[in-house]
Symmetry: C2
Subunit: 453 residues, 2 copies
């Protein structure tokens, strides 16, 4: 190692992740120098307010409000300020000046990644963002490098710790979503305004990033179909449990082959889905994240770990910093993101899944026959009907319906109907048609099944 | 992309992995060219016998027995012949000629990795070996790059599919080890001579590789303590289940801090150990592999997937090929393995764990008191004693012993004694002392506890 060689590191932002990264760069400078083959010198930390109170104590002389001057004096810029502006402009400035960039900014990569990758490629700089998805869990690098010779077919990701904490608590301890959210807020798992997590916007950005890398296709955030978890009731979770499933908010990225067998498209979507209780994702508890990848040769892989806490995320950021610095020292330019496949991004209507539909119906003669007709009219076949506490195959259910219910009696019953695979379009049409049936009092919930056992 | 640029790839070996790799290079040449930015041209396949029957059909004109000439005409050499000789010499030749090398050869990396990394560094070539550990599961790259800025404290790996299949079958379906091994052989999970798997030699090599990368310290294979699974009886598995554990053959790599708080050493070891039923590793079934990593900032991570089948391993090999080729095209030299930490490799005696000791004892007055004295003499404290079907705290057990057993009666009883943490040295001494007690008829088995819940 050349003892005199130095990589000048500039930090943008000193929040929970930034202050951890700064602390590690200062406290473990000798160890990091050995790993890199050059010293990583923290030359400054750009913040909006130099006087603000920090989580971690850091030398006052490092702070500056002049991000641009700091960047132009750095070899490697670590952007941890978050948000689109001014992060976008500052990263572009850094890359344009030939500095390598490490960021944890999922919103920026998801929305403006392509433009930043282009700048990086043009100047031969590196842009690393392992921390943008699933905190410390290595997933960007495995998808980009380790699976670079394989064909990824599907990704199922639990990529939002807040919603996993809420759904896991509802599943294991019972209670309503609001109760679980209140606990998540108390424990620091949810922010004061939980909208980005609970409504799936955070997971949507991560799905866009994962789909883009996995399928070598630019997937814009706005093409990622999104539903949050606010419609998940305690009753839906109980019904899922009875049927052998767990409800998880999933980011799903999938390669869809058209009926012609040739045209491929990419689907990326986020919604609460049913995961079979025996599937590895079902046992991801609390605020943890996990990403399940199905590839043609590798088979099923899972990457599991803590969600995005400040300390955990700093691990991913520093991994990117060390990798970028080693690369800088060894002299090679960065690897561009490969977007050559450029597949069509599928509409949500084209996606094929299975539905579990939870209904309140009038408990009267002929109800099941009417419901069954709705399914057959839309060419969706029914796998099972669950009434009360047991599941019965559909034929038996139809027979019971005519035998057991005296005509004219007007009670109410809950049915959970599990379908075979069909397109989202057909399944949505079935739900709309069910809602218009007189005998259907209410469609209480619809959950997609995204994993068999 | 430069349409005319080509990376000449030579393949050494055409077994189950090699023939898959060749097939993919030929069948997916266009897609791979887009990913790399240059064509990967398979220039030849070196084999011992050109006429031998292959798993997969490949063009006859690619085969040659002249590995050296093939290597000298290649930019990238993929070694999949296995074994030490002549793989070692051929890889050295390839690296020395400036070619990048990808290998899945765990035995070679574990025993001669250091010498090969030195050659690679000297000439600025890349030596990738993701496929050497845990088949398609990305673990080398995450440890080397993603966790490059973190401090790995511990790795618990299920890295041998054969033994996991056997132990999982014994746990879930019952039966003896020989019965489970026979099934594993029938299903192709075990080789005709299962010694390397069953005796832990395969896991030992992988442990040496993982420990070396994780701790930036060269850990020779022969310094990895090793016990196979042949001593794991159906009874030991039942006792483990009763106590809430699953038996897994683990490769364990651990940073050990001495009592002085300053000196650190590395322990690498392989043995059947107890994993708590709620630990993520406990639900790794069949022939699957999983690697659980504990790092200072990242916390607990787990990497899960299929073991080393031919197709799965080809995924890891091709990931390395694409990465190396991209890197070659972009112009940078390889990253050397970082061995700067150079910590002491700990003796097995220094390792701190907990023991579950299974004993047949004479069921007579004072037996427990005598046994308890052995533990206290060696300053090992007892956590619980399990007799028959229930676990009782040690104090109660001692009281029951004197109360319930009429003097002079000479029956036999089984005890499973769980200890608190102690050094392997102390625990071994306890076992030796127990064996010499008159009242102890037989020490039936000793299993270490490597995971709490």
């Amino acid at each position: 190692m050349n003892q005199h060689r130095t990589v000048r590191v500039a930090l943008l932002g000193a929040g929970s992740v930034g202050s951890q990264v700064a602390r590690t760069l200062l406290d473990h400078a000798d160890e990091l120098a050995l790993r890199v083959g050059a010293r990583l010198e923290l030359v400054g930390i750009a913040v909006r307010n130099v006087e603000a109170k920090r989580d971690v104590e850091l030398p006052a002389e490092l702070f500056t409000t002049d991000a641009k001057t700091l960047i132009l004096g750095a070899d490697l810029v670590v952007e941890l300020m978050g948000g689109i502006d001014p992060a976008r402009e500052l990263i572009a400035l850094a890359l344009g000046s030939g500095a390598d960039v490490v960021t944890a900014n999922k919103a920026l990569i998801a929305t403006h990644g392509l433009e930043l990758f282009d700048i990086a490629e043009r100047v031969g700089a590196q842009l690393n963002y392992e921390a943008a998805v699933a905190g410390a869990i290595p997933i960007i690098r495995p998808l980009r490098d380790s699976l670079a010779g394989d064909r990824v077919d599907r990704i199922l990701g639990i990529v939002n710790g807040t919603t996993n904490f809420i759904l896991d608590r509802m599943h294991t301890l019972g209670g309503t979503l609001d109760e679980a959210l209140a606990v998540a807020t108390d424990l620091g798992y949810a922010e004061a305004d939980p909208t980005a997590d609970v409504e799936g916007y955070d997971a949507q950005q991560k799905a866009a990033i994962l789909a883009s890398i996995a399928f070598h296709t630019h997937v814009p955030v706005e093409r990622v179909y999104r539903e949050g978890i606010t419609g998940v009731t305690a009753e839906l979770i109980d019904e899922a449990r009875t049927a052998g499933y767990v409800v998880k908010l999933l980011a799903i990225c999938e390669r869809i082959t058209a009926a012609d067998g040739a045209t491929e498209s990419v689907s990326a979507r986020v919604y609460p889905a049913l995961v079979h209780a025996q599937h590895p994702l079902a046992s991801v508890h609390g605020g943890n994240n996990a990403i399940f990848v199905e590839a043609a040769s590798a088979g099923s892989l899972m990457f599991y770990g803590a969600g995005a806490g400040g300390v955990e995320t700093s691990s991913a950021v520093l991994g990117d910093v060390v990798s970028a610095a080693r690369r800088r020292i060894s002299g090679g330019p960065g690897l561009r993101e490969s977007m050559h496949a450029d597949m069509r991004v599928a509409d949500i209507g084209d996606v094929v899944t299975r539905y579990h539909i939870s209904l309140d119906v009038s408990d009267e003669l002929g109800v099941l026959a009417g419901i069954a007709r709705v399914f057959s009219d839309h060419e969706v076949s029914v796998l099972q009907i669950q009434q009360g506490d047991g599941a019965v195959p559909v034929v038996e259910a139809l027979e019971q319906s005519t035998e057991d219910t005296p005509a004219g009696e007007q009670a109410s019953a809950t049915l959970v109907i599990g379908t075979h695979q069909a397109t989202e379009r057909s399944l949505q049409a079935v739900v709309a048609a069910l809602e218009s049936l007189d005998a259907v009092q209410r469609v209480k919930g619809v959950l997609r099944v995204e994993s068999a056992a």
